[in-house]
């Protein structure tokens, strides 16, 4: 399952401080060794967390992207982007 790789590297931001530093300095380079689809790689580098959410990436784990401010993401930007999926998330939850 491909989204596993995205979930995994999100958590690596927490665990591997060298990877965290590399993602801040040169995200494309840091992601090169990860086995991602082009769609995932493009979305990650663009900080397109709505796209990643729709691909099935775990939102809790994506929180490490703004927490450590990688891929151009800050908490306000993350908030704005992930909330564009709010209506579909409500629908899926049956809310």
């Amino acid at each position: 399952m491909s989204t596993y790789a995205v979930n995994y590297l999100c958590r690596e931001l927490l665990r591997d401080h060298a990877f965290r530093a590399a993602m801040k300095a040169d995200p494309a380079g840091a992601l090169a060794r990860h086995d991602l689809t082009e769609e995932e790689r493009t979305a990650l580098l663009a900080g397109d967390v709505a796209k990643l959410y729709r691909l099935g990436v775990n939102a809790f784990l994506m929180g490490y992207l703004p927490r450590f401010e990688v891929c151009g993401l800050t908490m306000p930007l993350y908030n704005e982007r992930i909330r564009t999926c709010a209506a579909e998330a409500e629908r899926e939850a049956g809310a």
Binding site: L14, Y53, E90, A93
Partner: protein, 292 residues
């Protein structure tokens, strides 16, 4: 061992020589609370709420804490994700996820009691994963940071998968809690045990239903209020019945943490809590059950 009867009583003098459950707590584990309390001091509402449950815990004089907890993909991950697991080790460290204002603690445990609980649980039909070399995240450590900061009381964590669907059912979690209660009460040492369930009733963290400008939100405050009301009334059967898979989805991406409270509830034997105090802006509560 031969001196113990089937109910664990010493046949010679009738003295109870098995462990007993002396109280129960429900608490939150919000990772930013330690920094908030450090900033705002002992008079802020979170500090006072934790002080209230800590007073109850201290009055229970426990020798051991058994804590139902949901790991946030730190002890476990998506490559290996047990529905239920028991931490069996002499000690474990945490937090492993860098919440602010929390030191890395070494938390003592009781591997003999933990192994006994796991064995009894498996015999009762619960497929409890074994985890022996592990660290824990803020969800175990934050409540302990407030309640037992000297880490002098051993803790056995029992992990309940509450974040990544499919989740175990509320009834299954309650039944697990009942099996754990029986196991504790069958352990041949007169330990005083407090049982803790931790987590939120309705909360979304980093998901699409977070509040504007925040990293979290309470998607279903009515459910959090309902859960508190049912707990306050001791209406545990109703709580289990209403904690449906659909309700858990509506409650937010970490709303499944209520399953930890539900797993704790058999330990209170149908009693009502001494108090259950909601903290609705976070979709959770603080509660204590005492009886001895």
């Amino acid at each position: 061992m031969a001196a113990f009867g089937p109910k664990g009583r010493d046949r010679h003098n009738g003295e109870i020589r098995v462990a007993k459950i002396v109280g129960a707590l429900g608490v939150p584990h919000t990772p930013f609370f330690p920094a908030l309390v450090e900033r705002e001091g002992a008079d802020c509402s979170t500090a006072r709420l934790f002080a209230a449950v800590t007073r109850e815990l201290e009055a229970m004089r426990p020798d051991l804490l058994v804590m139902f907890d949901t790991d946030h993909l730190n002890t476990f991950f998506l490559d290996n994700l047990p529905i239920f697991a028991v931490g069996v080790g002499s000690a474990f460290k945490g937090p492993n996820d860098e919440p602010r204002a929390v030191p890395i603690y070494t938390i003592p445990s009781r591997p003999d009691v933990a192994a006994h609980i796991r064995r009894a649980g498996v015999e009762a039909g619960f497929d409890l994963a074994l985890v022996q070399e592990f660290t824990v995240d803020h969800s175990v450590v934050v409540p302990l940071h407030f309640m037992t900061p000297r880490m002098q009381i051993p803790v056995i964590p029992i992990f309940v998968s509450g974040h990544v669907p499919p989740l175990p059912s509320a009834q299954r979690c309650f039944d697990l809690g009942a099996a754990v209660k029986r196991a504790i009460e069958g352990f041949a040492e007169p330990l005083r045990v407090a049982v803790i369930g931790n987590g939120s009733f309705s909360l979304e963290v980093f998901g699409p239903r977070i509040a504007p400008g925040k990293s979290d939100g309470v998607p279903d405050p009515a459910w959090a209020e309902r859960a508190c009301a049912l707990i306050a009334e001791g209406a545990y059967d109703a709580l289990i019945a209403e904690t449906t898979p659909r309700q858990l989805r509506k409650a937010g991406n970490v709303g499944g943490e209520i399953l930890n409270w539900i797993a704790m509830l058999p330990s209170v034997d149908g009693r009502r809590p001494k108090f259950v105090t909601p903290q609705m802006e976070q979709g959770h509560a603080y509660a204590a059950w005492t009886w001895s």
